[in-house]
């Protein structure tokens, strides 16, 4: 409906002078942005740069404090996302909003005004089939959502928007959680869609190669302001990174090899159920030595979460043995394992690794509350606890005005620094780091990786779990690609090839080339 009135190359969606304030921060400060028909216009920015605020304003979830939104040259005031959808704006969320027990079709027509009370399934599936054909999606429309991979779910989200008549597609981190193969397919489809004169706005944190590859134009946000906006053909990875963080930066960890010591963690034939009582971890065995990083490479949901939880004592194992520093800890509680030298950095730093309503002092206490040196006759030495927290804050450069602020007010990177500081200050023998840099900005990623490497140099054994092959390859001494609850292999870094590891993450063993 929208594109009938607008010719290719003309501006379809425009934001002028958008300002949005939240208590204490200006999330968007006089942001200008426009997208033309048939264009892919990437928006790049670190966490907290104001990407999601802008996206929510364009989609009608937030109303701007100042500034206006124009669709097809006409000023609009969205009261809710419904208004935006009616005008042909669609949103593909990073956290998929699908009903797992329903089929692909059922999810696509959920809430569709044209579906009516009695659903004409043959007609609907014919129409969706046509959409798939047009844009090159291949998906089983009768499959249930829980059976799909993350990449396929992403496709369902896109189809859902397209079927509702979206002609401007806003995508939040479209490749997050996808395997290399799925990313390729998705990017190909995105290119097809843009040739069909859809306007596409991907929001991306730090995957610069993707931006360079698919987008026509890129706008970079920093601290709520547009700092640059240019045609992508004039950009390089380096120039994007410079604009993104405001200084020259390249993530690089110098990996050194240190003398391998005695085994610190031995895992034998470990199996465990997931929350749905399915065998998610299926007979995994490995050993980590002092001064070694074992990188588990895999797409989330292949049993890494269960592996980590069993190792940390938070999930019972069905079978197998865990030996920590020579002691069989298989049946031991989590706290005993902490006391025996386990240090665990969880994937969900907001809901597992920290308590948002607690101050930084009390968050630091999470790994020290059972440490008698902070108590005098059972009563907490508050002064000592606070001083200790301040020390960690200084040492790790956590940006916080004082140790009494609540953890929920820290940015992701600063929170992760605090968690790392707290865990590593215990001098753990074994460090378990689960997706330690997920969602962090470039500066924080560099910091976290260096700290893990430092822990290894100090003689700890490190279990690194990551989806990011760059991270796995830059840190690990050995790499274990994980697929459907099993390690496909354990490869020393010297013999590891990216394509082979990437394929094994998808369950494929490449033939040895001679």
């Amino acid at each position: 409906m929208l594109l009938k009135q607008i010719k290719p190359g003309e501006i379809v969606l425009e934001a002028r002078g958008i300002t949005k304030r939240f208590p204490g921060v200006i999330a968007n400060d006089q942001v200008n942005f426009e997208i033309k028909v048939g264009e892919i216009h990437a928006i790049l920015g670190e966490n907290g740069a104001g990407k999601s605020t802008l996206m929510k304003i364009l989609f009608g979830q937030y109303q701007p404090d100042e500034g206006d939104v124009f669709v097809g040259g006409k000023q609009v005031k969205f009261k809710s996302p419904l208004d935006a959808i009616d005008l042909g704006i669609g949103m593909v969320h990073q956290h998929r909003k699908l009903v797992p027990a329903h089929t692909v079709i059922e999810n696509i027509i959920l809430g569709h005004p044209g579906a009516g009370r009695i659903i004409d399934l043959p007609r609907v599936s014919r129409e969706i089939g046509e959409l798939c054909e047009r844009y090159g999606f291949s998906i089983d429309l009768k499959a249930k959502i829980w059976q799909l991979s993350e990449g396929e779910k992403q496709i369902v989200e896109i189809l859902k928007s397209l079927y509702r008549g979206a002609e401007v597609l806003i995508m939040d981190e479209p490749t997050a959680g996808l395997t290399a193969l799925e990313t390729e397919k998705l990017l190909a489809s995105v290119e097809t869609m843009s040739r069909e004169n859809l306007a596409i706005v991907p929001f991306i944190t730090h995957k610069l190669p993707i931006v360079l590859r698919i987008s026509d134009r890129v706008t970079i946000l920093r601290q709520g302001k547009v700092v640059a906006s240019f045609e992508t053909e004039h950009a390089t990875e380096k120039s994007l990174a410079r604009e993104l963080v405001g200084r020259d930066i390249l993530i690089r960890t110098e990996r050194t090899t240190v003398e391998k010591g005695k085994p610190i963690l031995e895992v034998q034939e470990l199996s465990a159920f997931n929350d749905r009582d399915l065998m998610a971890l299926n007979g995994v065995s490995f050993t980590i030595h002092e001064g070694e990083i074992l990188g588990v490479a895999g797409v989330s949901g292949n049993g890494q979460g269960e592996l980590v939880e069993v190792l940390a004592g938070l999930r019972p194992s069905v079978k197998g043995k865990v030996i920590l520093d020579g002691k069989d800890v298989t049946a031991m509680s989590s706290r005993k394992r902490w006391q025996l030298g386990m240090g665990y950095v969880p994937a969900d730093r907001n809901h597992v690794g920290s308590i948002g309503e607690f101050s930084l002092v009390e968050n630091t206490r999470m790994n020290y509350y059972f440490d008698s040196s902070f108590y005098t006759r059972g009563s907490l030495n508050q002064h000592k606890m606070r001083a200790f927290t301040q020390e960690l804050i200084n040492e790790y450069g956590v940006a916080a005005p004082n140790p009494e602020v609540k953890a929920k007010n820290l940015s992701g990177g600063n929170l992760q620094k605090l968690i790392m500081a707290r865990v590593l200050s215990r001098n753990p023998r074994l460090v378990i780091a689960h997706l330690p840099t997920q969602g962090l900005d470039i500066g924080a990623i560099e910091f976290v990786r260096n700290k893990l490497h430092e822990a290894k140099e100090n003689g700890a054994g490190v279990l690194l779990i990551s989806e990011d092959l760059d991270e796995i390859f830059s840190l690990s001494d050995r790499i274990a690609p994980m697929y459907e609850g099993k390690f496909m292999d354990i490869v020393p870094i010297e013999q590891a090839r990216r394509d082979a590891v990437g394929a094994m993450m998808a369950g494929i063993t490449l033939e040895e080339e001679i």
């Binding site: 109303q63 597992v352 948002g356 009563s379 907490l380």
Partner: protein, 377 residues
């Protein structure tokens, strides 16, 4: 929203200081009293005179003040019984059941020692008081532990369990004290046998010694939450069970423990009212009234935001108003239930004002030149 040249907006609060919370509670209290004033006006009574009577009787009268203090001790203990699980994110709705169990156990001690029938005892009263207190605490803790165990082990909703246990305990008390029951009063008035006068609880400043227990418990709980390992574990579990287990805090032990502690204190409340308040000294026929009153521990706990020391003045106020409300009802010839109506209005207003713990109203003046493009929400 706009009013004249001002824009009024609801803004989510980032933080709430204790002082601001206190101010909000005071404002809410004033609003509630103002609103309830219309009840008096409707009955043709001057509200100022009515409130003056309520407050002077409850807090400044030689007859009223002891009544207030007795209710205050009871409410305060019930508040603690609510607060301890509340800080662990769990809701103890079972104070009535727990205090019934505690009262039965306290009187059970006398029954077992065969003191109820004969009025003399060979044991020192000190030992018997100790036994009664301990029995009340243990029995009520056991009642609470049922809910805590089921929550910790099988994640069964603690609200449902404690609520159900209330009914069981209620009818158990009936069975024990009504005609034919083991604790029945020889006079057969549908109440339990009376404490012999030698076992009447010692008074301190004219109040039962349980006052000291209640105040001391306030300090101990405050210290526990602020400074001890257990207090930290409870608070961490209450804020975020997933983060707590990450830190090595047991998801079984904490629910069990908070319900044992909370239950034990509710048991003391039962002992206090039926075993230590002058002029009662028996499980009264209207024991259900005190079960209902125990629910005000929830309100006091919420208003004081789980702070054991802040709940002391709050429980005092609620105790006083429940006494004063009943008094003016008789004094001014008003209809039945005025006291609970007053507490009810106060409660609803205070709970409604919790909205302002989350949000604040911000007014900004709209500048002339931009007022024509002001954003309408």
């Amino acid at each position: 929203m706009r009013a004249g040249s001002y824009e009024i907006k609801l803004v989510k609060r980032i933080s709430l200081t204790n002082l601001r919370a206190l101010m909000l509670s005071v404002i809410a209290g004033v609003v509630a009293l103002f609103a309830f004033g219309f009840v008096f006006v409707a009955a043709g009574i001057d509200p100022f005179m009515a409130y003056q009577k309520i407050f002077s009787f409850s807090f400044f009268n030689d007859f009223g003040l002891p009544l207030t203090i007795n209710r205050f001790i009871f409410l305060l203990l019930c508040t603690y019984a609510f607060i301890i699980p509340f800080r662990a994110g769990l809701w103890n709705i079972g104070m009535p059941g727990q205090l019934y169990a505690g009262s039965l156990a306290a009187f059970g001690v006398l029954h077992v020692l065969d003191i109820g029938k004969s009025t003399t005892s060979h044991m020192s009263p000190l030992i018997i008081w100790g036994l009664m207190l301990a029995a009340a605490a243990v029995a009520a803790a056991a009642t609470g532990a049922i809910a805590g165990f089921l929550k910790g082990k099988y994640d069964i909703n603690e609200i449902v369990v404690t609520m159900m246990l209330n009914y069981m305990a209620y009818w158990l008390v009936s069975y024990m004290i009504k005609e034919g029951g083991p604790f029945m009063n020889p006079g057969g008035r549908g109440e339990s046998f009376e404490l012999p006068s030698s076992l009447h609880a010692p008074l301190i400043w004219g109040s039962p010694y349980t006052l000291l227990i209640a105040l001391a418990l306030g300090l101990m709980l405050f210290h526990m939450f602020a400074k001890t390992k257990l207090g930290y574990e409870i608070r961490a579990y209450g804020q975020n069970p997933a983060a707590a287990s990450y830190a090595g805090i047991s998801r079984f032990r904490i629910p069990l423990l908070v319900f044992i502690l909370g239950g034990a204190i509710a048991g003391l409340a039962g002992y206090h009212y039926f075993g230590a308040v002058p002029g009662v000294y028996k499980i009264a026929r209207n024991y259900g009234f005190f079960g209902d009153l125990a629910f005000y521990g929830i309100i006091c706990g919420l208003i004081s935001r789980g702070n054991p020391l802040a709940s002391i003045p709050v429980a005092f106020l609620f105790g006083g108003l429940s006494v004063g409300g009943r008094y003016v009802q008789g004094e001014l010839g008003m209809s039945f239930g005025l006291d609970y109506a007053l507490l009810g209005v106060l409660m609803i207003t205070l709970v409604a004002f919790q909205f302002f713990y989350q949000y604040q109203i911000v007014t900004t003046r709209i500048r002339k030149e931009t007022s024509d493009v002001g954003i309408l929400h």
